[in-house]
Point group: C2
Chain length 765, copies 2
């Protein structure tokens, strides 16, 4: 049964579009205030060192310098934990990541900050700050960091283990060995040993994947004004204004009531603009000077000192019977947390096998500190590298069993009632449907095209991907204006066009044109608490709030009309943008008429909603990719790329397609080129967009985005969330296509020309 919609499924121009293309939109760096000071950060040149001494005297003496901040200006958070929207965070780590306390754990870590009358003087002053370091040996590889004798980042780090949890009583006074392993997760379903015994084929492979960056165009920024009454206002480009408020409150030991965060427009985040870096620093510089302070990062700082997604070591073992039914799977995942605990290892464990319904599972996951920047979320965090491993192994099983890889995926697909590795049972999901659509897609049926150079082999690969998506809290308010327009305020910052996708859901629920809705994003004082823009949640959860707010408006409109007509509210119904009498349907008032009358008589109508919906069922995607490989250089060209995704319901198909295309492109970059290159001193050697190679339009074909709609049964419009899962399958699909082309199974990311070349040469020999 297909629901018909008036607004949902159409493609109106986004409300913020004109502002952005004409340069009117105000991003964080556009902030200005009278008396504004400019802040810059002094960063560690060492990957691992003790800070022996910081001498700021010469820098402070430079004319135009107004203040210098170090970790001494931040409260010592000791080992206090706080849940700040990204899960529990050790505050002393978060604080040290803003301004290092005692030690630096990665090159580029912030050590001091300067506020001066302009940016040039601030930069000059940074050079005058004299910092004495005692350099320590560093480790930048997850496997090496887990080995005995590895340099230890945190003397007090204790492994938190699901496999062998121990109480303090058990621990007693035991002296535990220093470790870099912050966490050991373990998930089991059934009996994997028995499953492997039942298998006709077992494939086991291990993989190494590099650290990659989100690569958002806009560098981090933060402006702050610490007012004379002790209140703090922060302007920044962030994925979550309320999340920034919570982090700053904890880091500065302030009540959140004292803080207002004003979200400016954001030039991309992809998970990397959730954690604070500059905000508390701008705040203390403002506190010291009594003036507003704006602190900016340059591109190198974005690479070296924000939160990329982790490099990892992953081992996957999968068994299947001769019919192609998976009998068991095991995974070992070691994720680089970077300088401080907190890699997305949980998500890696949850996602690695979730495309499939597997009776016997054993997953061990490790969160491991290394001397790299503290990792952060990046679009389906931890799922892409995990999927690369699993999908390559699945491809090999299909090859060995001579089963079509899409048939294999359909046969083994997770479905309603399947168990996720960490326990939950899936509701209605679209794993089967996406594989079926892939199978019948013209791309999959078409033969590989031939290139102009017959020496360049071509191949096709497929892969699947899963991301769970999240729910969390969202608030909206919606004031009905006298002309029938609606002013919609949402707490979600808008990265990918969600002002429009939320406005569309409100318009649909009210039965009014979407052009009559004026969406805007509120600051933390202006709208109810709303969680971060992440986890593919905004169109899902904030859209749900918009739906509820529309219902609230409907109720109020019915009450108004009941008053106008002097009838009982129960005798009226709201339908298709009108309030009607149930007894005489010819008697009706339109939304616009009610709005105008409400403006004239009595109180006006304001709707609002606050939601914390259940998490959606999760999103599934399948990629079909054709590649051509230059066997001499190892360069891989993407010839054709089809991305099929269950989106639940596409509110605005263009923006859904945009998300699918954007995620695919980021996946392609990760697959083929992107990586942090480190020297043996722990220094990133390619911290610029010139050397850190992201795909450009010239590197890519048109990405064919195929929308599959298996509505989420709980959401009012069936939305599932679309932003993240598109990045999950590309690495695996491209690896499988490379294998199809040149017969080498890549076990490393990125599959850059030298690595592909080396693999081809190794196979030849």
């Amino acid at each position: 049964m297909t629901q018909t919609y008036q607004v949902i499924g159409t493609r109106p121009i986004r409300h913020d579009g004109i502002d952005k293309v004409t340069g009117r939109a105000l991003y964080g760096a556009d902030f200005h205030a009278a008396g504004l000071l400019h802040g810059r950060i002094v960063r560690s040149p060492h990957a691992h060192a003790k800070i022996a001494k910081i001498d700021v005297a010469r820098a402070l003496a430079l004319p135009g310098v107004e203040a210098i901040a170090t970790s001494a200006d931040l409260p010592d958070a000791a080992n206090r934990m706080a849940n700040l929207g990204e899960g529990a965070i050790n505050l002393s780590h978060l604080s040290s990541n803003c301004l290092a306390r005692g030690k630096v754990h990665y090159r580029g870590q912030a050590v001091a900050a300067v506020a001066a009358v302009n940016g040039h003087i601030a930069e000059e002053a940074c050079k005058l700050i004299q910092i004495e370091y005692e350099v320590l040996p560093c480790v930048t590889d997850v496997v090496k960091a887990m080995q005995p004798g590895a340099p230890i980042l945190h003397d007090d780090l204790v492994t938190e283990s699901m496999a062998a949890p121990r109480s303090q009583a058990e621990l007693g006074n035991e002296k535990r060995q220093p470790t870099n392993i912050a966490k050991h997760l373990q998930y089991k379903l059934g009996d994997s040993a028995k499953g492997f015994a039942d298998a006709a084929i077992v494939i086991e492979k291990s993989f190494n994947t590099a650290t990659v960056h989100q690569g958002y165009i806009e560098p981090h920024n933060a402006s702050a004004l610490w007012n004379a009454d002790g209140t703090l206002t922060i302007w920044c480009s962030t994925q979550g204004a309320f999340t920034v408020r919570a982090q700053v409150a904890e880091l500065l030991a302030m009540p959140i009531a004292k803080i207002k965060v004003v979200p400016m427009e954001i030039g991309g985040g992809f998970g990397g603009k959730i954690r604070v870096y500059l905000e508390p620093v701008a705040a203390v510089l403002s506190r010291k000077t009594g003036k507003p302070v704006k602190v900016l990062m340059d591109r190198a700082a974005c690479f070296e000192a924000t939160g990329p997604t982790p490099g990892s070591y992953i081992k996957v073992k999968v068994g299947a019977d001769k019919t192609g039914r998976i009998t068991a799977a095991e995974a070992y995942l070691a994720y680089e947390a970077g300088a401080f605990p907190g890699s997305p290892i949980w998500a890696g464990c949850v996602c690695i096998f979730s495309c499939y319904d597997i009776p016997n599972l054993l997953i061990n996951g490790y969160d491991v500190c290394v001397n790299k920047p503290a990792t952060s979320a990046y679009r389906a965090p931890g799922a892409t590298n995990a999927a690369m491993a699993m999908e390559t192994v699945v491809d090999e099983i299909c090859e060995k069993l001579k089963i079509d890889p899409l048939d294999f995926r359909i046969k083994n697909a997770a479905k309603e009632g399947s168990r996720r590795a960490d326990g939950p049972v899936f509701p209605k999901i679209g794993a089967i449907e996406t594989s079926e659509v892939a199978k019948s897609h013209p791309h999959y049926k078409a033969p590989l095209t031939k290139g102009t150079n017959p020496a360049f082999p071509r191949g096709r690969g497929v892969a699947s991907g899963f991301w769970f998506n999240i729910g969390l809290k969202s608030c909206v308010s919606a004031g009905v204006n006298g002309d029938g327009s609606v002013s919609l305020v949402e707490g979600s910052t808008d990265i990918g066009g969600t002002r429009t996708s939320i406005a569309m859901q409100l318009a649909e629920a009210l039965g009014i044109p979407v052009k009559d809705v004026k969406p805007s994003v509120g600051d933390t004082d202006a709208v109810g608490y709303t969680d971060v823009t992440g986890g593919s949640r905004v169109t899902y959860a904030t859209g749900w709030a918009a739906f509820d707010a529309a219902k609230d408006i409907q109720r109020q409109m019915i009450d108004k009309v009941a008053g106008f007509w002097k009838v009982a509210a129960d005798d009226l119904v709201y339908e298709a943008g009108t309030v009607k009498s149930k007894r005489d349907v010819s008697k009706q008032m339109t939304f616009r008429e009610i709005a105008a009358e409400a403006q004239k008589h009595g109180s006006v109508i304001v709707g609002r909603a606050s939601v914390d919906p259940p998490w959606p069922g999760g999103a599934y995607a399948v990629n079909i990719v054709d590649v051509e490989v230059d066997p001499d250089t190892g360069k891989v060209n993407i010839l054709r790329f089809t991305a099929i995704q269950d989106v639940g319901k596409a509110i605005h198909p263009s923006y859904v397609e945009g998300q699918i295309q954007g995620g695919s492109v980021q996946g392609i970059g990760w697959a083929l080129n992107e990586e942090y290159v480190y020297n043996d001193k722990g220094a990133m050697t390619n911290a610029s967009f010139l050397d850190y190679r992201m795909p450009t339009a010239l590197d890519l074909p048109m990405i064919d985005a195929v929308i599959v709609e298996v509505p989420d049964p709980k959401h009012p419009y069936g939305v599932r969330g679309v932003g993240e899962v598109p990045i999950v399958p590309p690495c695996g699909a491209i690896a499988n296509a490379i294998y199809a082309a040149v017969g080498v199974r890549m076990d490393v990311l990125p599959m850059s020309p030298p690595r592909v070349c080396k693999a081809i040469l190794a196979k030849k020999n």
Copy 2:
């Protein structure tokens, strides 16, 4: 029965106080945006003239000039009427008041506007615009303007008469004489001729009062950005962001949905910052240039071209029987509308006799155009000059009948059940109580003090005043934060500390400390429609909305706790900041605990309310004033001033006292010095704060503000509104004190030294 409150009646520091005293608060003129252009206005040097030609070529050629606007850039509103929050307005008049079309009707009227890269170039360019005028004779006095043969401002003006309303059919093709009388109001109660026949004494006097300005410190300003998508954002200092939106929408023939108005902080308004002057001009300059444009007024423009309160001619006739009971009263009020119809004549008619319960009334009011700036609201608009007339006559009756003037007022006071001249019956009001408090006040009982110069006579006067106050629409929203603080957003712009008085009512209703409420003022996209900050309505109506929002939060908190405890919501009650079980009152959760739990589990709590409450009963005030008169110069010194006022309930007594003191001071300025001085060309000759003499601290004693609380029976906290009535009695009280001192009855405002001197001399001769 006295209600006890935790928050109401306390004196917390206003939330915007620190920002204002430290210079951080952003007023309209502080607006900045990249590429900002600066606008200036070319104003008419003539009080009355036809505009023959405007040549902008030379001005446009000046380097740095980017656009020039004239009335040709505004839609011709013909004679379209619109109700824009100040009552019905003729749009062509409002438009012509922004940029003159065809004619100028007062000196200083805006004729053209320039946008340039800086203010200096814009001013230079203004001088280069060549305007040819055909100068017409002008009239600047209300009495002369009503006489046959007076210069006529509007050829098409027809008197709208309540006394002799005529239908179009009656009018037929009759050629009506041109007139400056826009409106004739008439109110009757009983039979005044019979009332006078029953009187033992009848006093009739006439009065002339000058035009006076609100004298707000901050000049008018407006910035606008007309975006490429046809949306318009306006930043300005205004008493009503939604009112600005409505006016601009009508003047530019745009849907309100296309307009966002961002209210900046406001440096005083007193009624003068409701009508738009610069906003539509900034908008069209921005439309022409594609850039943001900021237009500022200087002080002279504020005097000459904004809306002062009218000069007037008033005749009052009052009869009383020998016991001192008023038997009848008649009034004739002619108010200068200024250039366009719209004086507060209605309010003058309604207020002039409303301190008293008078059985027989006849009031005739006239709204008369003269060649002065179009008048606007000014604190109890039209009531002060009316009260001066009535209170002087009452004083003379008391003198003649040898009755104590406060006893007379108590005896004749309006009370519950009395009829207002225009019809409504008063609910519970505080006219008697204020007079009783005055009578027993130490000031009234104390003998007059003696001065150092025995030749300077001293005298004491009393007078009463009434202002009706208003209700209108208000919206608030209030998000509960995880730390138990509440982010309160109100649609009312804050002039006199209403962020605090609204926050206090929310805090009281929730049973939480007011420091836990963070109030802010929303822009027109951020909060539900809210009427203008005026009519003493904000603490009354928006406070009522805050009360309702608190009830909304209470309901949600009860539902939350019911969920936490798995009990029925009906079993719970919200009391004193906690939710309690009705069955076991020891079982309870505090507001803070519920807020924290709601933050952790499920949707957060957001309250909201939209109200359009009934109008309050009205406000009464009594002044006691002691003066000393220098008989040689006529200078009047205020020795002691006591202002007694029924405020219903004082939410924040300090701010109530501040309103009483501020209103009293403005009344004293009006009484003694303030006036527009015109030459015979219709030019104001004192358009600066040097020559337009406002009282300074050195001119004044401490104003003793006495709060009387006769709660408004309908308002949740008994609030009546306090801002306006304090300005009503001072002129009459001072006139009566002067009489007591030197024996002359002043019949003119201001009672400036030359006028008092002249009156003393006239009496001597």
